[in-house]
């Protein structure tokens, strides 16, 4: 069996429309800059957005099983006149808080806390907003014993089944299954300088280049920027940040996010539940890029360069 010729594939990808004004082929430096901004020490974290978007917010604690994972904050707040559930991955601002939050790398208990709060959303018919910012789920022995894999899968299942509207926002660094566990929403949106990737550049460097020092090279290979994720259909919209990045002005960053969230939630609420669930499934069913070989002839690429709806909800 002769492997099909793959040389013509690249050409198709060069035809990507550049909807966001950027080049279809961002420079490696730009990618690295986005990664730096996504991880900026002064970048707003979920609780910073929550404080600005919903002054009345009740944080809920505990997975109702065996603990309270501080890497994930979850609760219910009043947002534009209705109860709204928010779940976020919270990095720490200073050294002490970083340890307390485990650098936003949660164990299974964090996802189980998220699921129990999603159940509350379901009961109260409250929309769910997730704020994603994690280098990945925690790699630890106890996390494995307590079912890190199953917790991530079940979190995806829970989000896939929600009959209430949901929006996932990548606010910082969205890495690996630990990010996707909270990312199965009706709309997935990325802040301008956020990143979304299958693995952190450092992890990829160690595994693919067998060299811990190739993170910048890995970043350039993964191109995990918001603009690229939008092109690939992984993000439905890109929300602008203040000039220079979200860290320069938390209030303005929250205001820009608020614009997207409030408008999109309003639109989503108007969709009948069953339709919304079906559309959500269809959204994730479609994602991917592969070739479909006809019985003979040239390959057809299916996936990322399909026509897509305009940005915004």
């Amino acid at each position: 069996m002769k492997p099909p010729h793959m040389g013509d594939i690249g050409g198709r990808f060069r035809r990507f429309r550049s909807r966001l004004g950027g080049s279809a082929e961002p420079e490696a430096d730009d990618v690295w800059k986005a990664i730096q901004l996504a991880r900026h020490a002064e970048r707003p974290y979920p609780l910073d957005y929550i404080a600005r978007l919903m002054p009345d917010f009740e944080e809920l604690h505990g997975d109702r099983l065996q603990g309270d994972d501080h890497a994930i904050v979850a609760g219910i707040g009043r947002y534009h006149g209705r109860p709204t559930v928010v779940i976020g991955q919270q990095k720490g601002r200073d050294a002490e808080e970083r340890v307390f939050r485990n650098f936003a790398m949660s164990g299974p208990g964090g996802y189980r806390k998220a699921m129990r709060v999603m159940e509350l959303a379901e009961k109260l018919r409250a929309p769910v907003v997730t704020l994603i910012d994690t280098p990945g789920a925690f790699a630890g022995a106890q996390a494995e014993i307590n079912g890190q894999g199953g917790a991530i899968a079940q979190s995806m299942q829970t989000m896939m089944r929600l009959r209430v509207p949901s929006i996932a926002v990548i606010v910082g660094e969205g890495s690996s299954g630990g990010a996707l566990a909270l990312g199965v929403a009706d709309r997935v949106v990325m802040l301008e300088n956020s990143t979304y990737s299958v693995i952190s550049p450092e992890g990829a460097s160690a595994i693919l280049w067998r060299d811990a020092g190739k993170a910048q090279l890995a970043a350039a290979a993964f191109k995990p920027t918001a603009a690229n994720c939008y092109r690939w259909g992984v993000a439905d919209a890109v929300v602008p940040e203040p000039e220079g990045g979200a860290h320069t002005d938390h209030d303005e960053a929250a205001r820009l996010l608020d614009g997207y969230l409030s408008r999109t939630l309003r639109n989503l609420i108007a969709i009948p539940d069953a339709d919304r669930v079906r559309q959500r499934r269809d959204r994730f069913r479609r994602l991917g890029a592969y070739r479909e070989l006809p019985t003979g002839g040239t390959a057809i690429v299916v996936g990322v360069d399909d026509p897509r709806p305009a940005p915004g909800s």
Partner: protein, 335 residues
């Protein structure tokens, strides 16, 4: 849809397991030494014993098609969707370009890291989806996700169970975030099976790690694991590096994951086909009694409710009022 009828005759050696195989003569060309007990076997013996060490029970990896044949009655199956092949959406290059890796893997005769097929197990039709670790570490990229979703949809459409065997290092990094998305795609597939009430049996082979364990592999209806299989989101090496813990030898292995509550049974590969066949017999739905079927169609399921609601606008206005409530029409009376 390209299909190929493949017949492979497999002697399962059922009932012969207790008699240890005669010590094989060393044949330098294709013999293999067991890493546990150092017994050596010829390729023919290996194949006959399903790649399990006849002396100590060590389980070697199995290729995707070989596994499908092992599971299927008489080794017969119809492979599905071999026309789906990897693309290179990121034009990804690490120490070599992604297309070169794919070419090399395809050159060995496998088209992707997931083999799907129609087959029968224990006389019962089912859809089988088996990961192939030999194809880029069984990594889950867009083709694996697409085939897996199709396998779920096919099983749901036909009302036959899905049997899936995982063996994977996780998401295919060379497809970037699109590979990550395949995790969610497999979950969509399972949702379709759930709506259809169709069972899914997951077999965890060595290794099942990363994004595969964190998606479909951990949420099967019934979950078997092969002896000694590593089952983990983060492998022991990563954990030891991250936390500087020293982990026990059996960490994350099938037997540990059974006592951790994540697996229903550890099943020897030589028992697997029989065990699954018996289980499919248990799970088979009874033929619905016509009356009770109609009843359940009328009364159950939000799916149907949604369809009914969609049909409503074409129901006469007077009746719609009755069903949906609200003000009676001003011009009451028959339409």
């Amino acid at each position: 849809m390209a299909r190929r009828q493949i017949h492979v005759s497999i002697d399962r050696l059922r009932g012969q397991r207790d008699e240890p195989a005669p010590r094989p003569q060393k044949l330098p060309s294709d013999d293999r030494a067991c890493p546990t007990c150092a017994s050596t076997f010829r390729a023919e013996e290996m194949r006959h014993n399903l790649n399990v060490c006849a002396a100590c029970g060590y389980h070697w990896p199995v290729g995707g098609r070989e596994r499908v044949a092992q599971l299927s009655d008489d080794g017969a199956y119809d492979e599905l969707w071999t026309e789906l092949r990897a693309a290179d959406p990121l034009r990804f290059v690490d120490i070599q370009p992604y297309p070169r890796r794919v070419e090399a893997a395809e050159a060995k005769g496998t088209t992707e890291a997931l083999v799907c097929a129609d087959a029968r197990i224990g006389g019962r039709p089912c859809v089988i989806a088996v990961m192939d670790f030999s194809f880029l570490g069984g990594s889950m990229g867009s083709v694996v996700g697409e085939k897996f979703a199709r396998a779920c949809e096919r099983a749901a459409d036909r009302g036959v169970p899905l049997v899936t065997v995982s063996a994977s290092g996780g998401a295919r990094m060379q497809e970037g975030v699109l590979a990550l998305m395949q995790m969610a795609k497999t979950i969509v597939g399972f949702e379709v099976l759930r709506d259809a009430g169709v069972p899914v049996i997951v077999v965890l082979a060595h290794p099942t790690t990363g994004g595969v364990w964190a998606s479909f592999a951990s949420v099967g209806d019934v979950t078997y694991a092969e002896p000694g299989a590593l089952i983990a989101f983060s492998g022991p090496r990563v954990i030891e590096q991250t936390t500087r813990e020293k982990l026990p030898e059996d960490f994350g292995r099938a037997e540990s994951q059974l006592s951790n509550g994540h697996v229903d049974a550890v099943v020897d590969r030589r028992e697997l086909s029989g065990r699954i066949g018996r289980l499919l017999g248990i799970l088979e739905q009874p033929p619905p009694a016509t009356a009770s079927l109609a009843m359940s169609l009328a009364q159950n399921g939000t799916e149907r409710a949604a369809r009914m609601a969609q049909a409503l606008p074409s129901i006469p206005r007077r009746l719609r009022q009755r069903v949906l409530g609200g003000e009676p029409p001003a011009d009451g009376g028959p339409r």
